[in-house]
């Protein structure tokens, strides 16, 4: 194309430039020399244009960039020191209970999570994140923090965020295998306010995090201020010994998290949790009638220990964790140190062969009917159990309304249309033991069977 352009321009210049050339030149130069001269002029013009384009490209690189794509929308300064990213996700769920005798909950569609995310960086090393949630008809601030990245091995975060405790809790809600997290998540904090140091050592082989937090009850999402003067210390060490060296065990990771703090409740704020089934039905609460005699209070040290691990290899994934939550409680003058435990194991297989990871599945072939590609499909299975301390009953919890343990198993199918869009279908069955029966003959809470669906978009 350039050669054709050159030829046309050359011809035009030959015709047009005759008059402009000095007569002396015309006498001295042969036609070949004139053509050579004009050819050089064209080449120079073309080269100058080329250099101008290169300079413009360099200038563009040095300008603020606005990008959009599967990772969201962002505005970035030329030197990368300032960045603003707009991300978010929406999860539209269906919950359908299947029970002939009694439905433990209402069949419903619900907006489970509606979360815009504002993330960014200022002055190169200071990151921030703000994430409210408008799901389920309420507005709650989930994340609001600033993090200084002094080095990959040393970061300091302050604000409201997930404490470094539960493995499945730390996994993004957009990446979890099932519509709802498993039973052990009941025993770990959700969000808390505090200051944390964290980092990756040895290229990510060891990840550590430790911090001081207001302290929250199990499953708690701490409000924006504490209700007592004591603070919780929480930390986690997670090791991926083969992350750098690679091989079949590259994505093997395991670790342990722990928390400790003093919690003391009051009649208006007892400082104790309720626990939920995967179908988000409350199945356990401490006694509370608003009187000193009938209300159980947190009354002393609360500790948790949570060993955890995962393994991903090609399309297969395995995640397991155990949680133990110990809390000193008191009802009137009677005290006890109650220890509740829970564990889960979950397995997944991406049947389309895409890689399973802790951060979800990114299909190699996105959904595109015209190209006969359909995204990635994953089948999942999970078993989890939660045992309440025997000492809890009957003094601290009413066996007529709270079982002593629950067991849940689930199977699911996930369809990843692309990195951003996902459809989920789960079936989960929870059984209960040791209380909350409906009649004298039926001593246990009736099993809970639920079909979940989810349409999720995240960007």
């Amino acid at each position: 194309m350039r050669r054709e352009l050159s030829a046309v321009a050359l011809g035009a210049l030959v015709l047009l430039s005759g008059g402009s050339l000095r007569a002396q030149d015309q006498q001295e130069k042969t036609p070949d020399e004139k053509i050579q001269e004009l050819d050089q002029k064209i080449r120079v013009l073309e080269r100058k244009d080329e250099l101008r384009q290169e300079a413009e490209a360099d200038k563009a690189k040095a300008s603020t960039s606005v990008t959009s794509g599967k990772d969201g929308f962002s505005i970035k300064s030329a030197d990368g020191a300032f960045l603003l990213k707009l991300r978010g996700y929406v999860q539209f769920d269906g919950r359908f209970f299947s029970d002939d005798k009694q439905k433990p909950g209402i069949d419903t569609f619900t907006l489970r999570r509606v979360r815009p995310i504002f993330e960014g960086t200022v002055y190169k090393i200071f990151d921030f994140r703000i994430m409210p949630d408008f799901g389920q008809g309420t507005t709650t601030l989930f994340d609001a923090y600033v993090e200084a990245r002094f080095a990959p091995s040393f970061k300091v975060r302050a604000g409201k965020f997930k404490p470094p405790v539960g493995l499945e809790r730390l996994q993004s809600a957009t990446d979890i295998l099932f519509v709802e997290r498993a039973l052990p998540t009941n025993l770990v904090p959700n969000r808390d306010l505090g200051i944390q140091v964290s980092g990756d050592l040895s290229g990510g082989v060891v990840n550590y995090a430790a911090g001081v937090f207001n302290g929250t009850v199990d499953l708690g999402n701490q409000a924006d201020a504490d209700t007592n003067n004591s603070k919780d210390v929480e930390g986690r060490v997670f090791v991926q010994p083969f992350l750098v060296s690679g091989g079949a065990l590259k994505n093997l990771g395991f670790g342990v998290a722990a928390t400790s703090g003093i919690h003391e409740g009051t009649l208006t704020a007892p400082g104790l949790p309720s626990y939920r089934t995967p179908a988000q039905q409350t199945f356990f609460s401490y006694r509370s009638d608003g009187t000193a005699a009938g209300t159980v209070l947190a009354d002393g040290r609360h500790t948790r220990i949570v060993p955890q691990g995962y393994f991903y290899s090609g399309p297969f994934g395995l995640l397991a964790e155990y949680a133990q939550s110990k809390q000193e409680v008191r009802r009137a003058t009677v005290s006890a140190d109650l220890e509740h435990t829970s564990w889960q194991t979950a397995a997944s297989w991406v049947i389309t062969g895409d890689d399973a990871t802790y951060r979800g599945v990114n299909p190699k072939k996105v959904f595109d009917p015209a190209a006969h590609t359909w995204g990635a499909f994953e089948v999942t299975a999970r078993y989890s159990k939660l045992d309440l301390d025997e000492k809890t009953f009957p003094l601290f919890a009413n066996p007529a309304s709270a079982p002593r343990s629950t067991t849940a198993w689930a199977v699911g199918l996930n369809w990843y249309l692309n990195k951003n869009v996902r459809v989920m279908l789960d079936y989960e069955r929870s059984t209960f033991d040791g209380g909350a029966g409906t009649t004298s003959l039926v001593t246990d809470r009736i099993p809970e069977k639920i079909l979940f669906s989810r349409f999720q978009i995240s960007y």
Partner: protein, 337 residues
């Protein structure tokens, strides 16, 4: 039972740590920010050094390269490009990096021969048969001769070109700066395109077919004759030219941050070894080693060379006089031309 499981997990965590740490320590990464025509030189040199470093320490080293006009490259390092080492076209550009505080100002004394492990000079590259009969600098100042040279404001090589022409004029025209200025102005009147770097000018001359003569690094000219445009070009050695001393330095603050100080220092020292000198000579840079220079003597034309200190009082003074904004170059070429 629970406490036993926890103990095992903790023990595994502790046991796994040194395994990972050892694996990581087996790879170092260096970034060499260099000037335009050294791409091929450092590709070969890096491979040789990686082998040498592995043999010496057992550690793998990955060396990344960045190339561009020397002045621009120095600016990039000052602005945050995390170079472990700089290997730039001239000492002034390394001085600029030193002035930003990234390395000490006495950097030139830390390695032998003013931290210039190889040298080069400035020659002419002409088209086959030398149709414009170019023999020396005077021919470049004649009307009707199209001269290709990059922009001295952005290119280290271009500054060597300019000063070589100026030095020739001073020597020939009675050491008269006014006459030298007029002479150099006539040369630059013949320059139709100013590229930002030496490699860009080579592209202009060799690939785009523009110009009668390219003022070039000697190594770049030999490369064009022997490799890029075999059979299409000839080298013309002027009667007088400048001794160009490309300079190298460890960027201390970056190397300390990356924990690569030892590797970076050894990397530059390796340039002075017989192996490093041999590689430089193979890529048409004049080696400092007498034995390697003797081996490759036929490769380099015999030219009388002067130094920048002799005629210009060093880089700082030359930069201020000729290449600063409003300096002599701006006066003769015209800002924004």
């Amino acid at each position: 039972m629970r406490s036993r499981i926890l103990s095992i997990l903790l023990l595994l965590s502790v046991a796994a740590f040194p395994v990972g740490a050892q694996t990581v320590s087996q790879k170092a990464k260096l970034l060499n920010v260099s000037y335009d025509p050294t791409r091929e030189l450092y590709q070969d040199f890096n491979a040789a050094f990686a082998k040498y470093w592995k043999g010496q320490t057992g550690q793998d080293v990955e060396i990344q390269q960045s190339h561009g006009g020397s002045g621009k490259q120095a600016r990039s390092v000052i602005d945050g490009l995390e170079a472990d080492v700089v290997t730039l076209a001239l000492a002034y550009d390394v001085d600029a990096v030193a002035n930003s505080g990234l390395l000490p100002k006495n950097w030139q004394t830390r390695l032998p021969l003013n931290s210039a492990p190889y040298t080069s000079t400035i020659v002419f590259l002409v088209r086959k048969g030398n149709p414009k009969h170019i023999k020396d600098w005077d021919d470049l100042a004649k009307p009707g001769v199209s001269v290709i040279s990059p922009n001295p404001k952005t290119s280290g090589g271009a500054r060597w070109n300019y000063l070589a022409a100026w030095g020739y004029a001073l020597k020939k025209l009675g050491n008269d700066p006014a006459k030298a200025k007029d002479f150099v102005a006539r040369i630059y009147k013949n320059v139709p395109v100013l590229d930002t770097g030496a490699r860009g000018s080579t592209v202009t001359f060799v690939e785009r077919g523009i110009g009668d003569v390219l003022i070039a690094w000697e190594n770049e000219a030999i490369l064009a004759v022997k490799d890029i445009g075999k059979g299409q070009f000839e080298i013309v050695a002027p009667s007088l030219s400048i001794l160009a001393e490309p300079s190298v330095a460890v960027v201390d603050k970056v190397a300390a941050k990356h924990k690569t100080a030892a590797a970076a220092k050894t990397y530059l020292e390796y340039l002075y070894t017989p192996e490093g000198q041999e590689i430089a000579a193979r890529h048409y840079y004049r080696p400092r080693s007498a034995s390697v220079a003797a081996k490759y003597a036929d490769q380099f034309p015999k030219i009388t060379l002067f130094t920048i200190d002799e005629l210009f009082g060093g880089w700082t003074k030359a930069q201020q006089t000729h290449f600063a904004d409003g300096g002599v170059f701006d006066q003769i070429y015209g800002v924004g031309k």
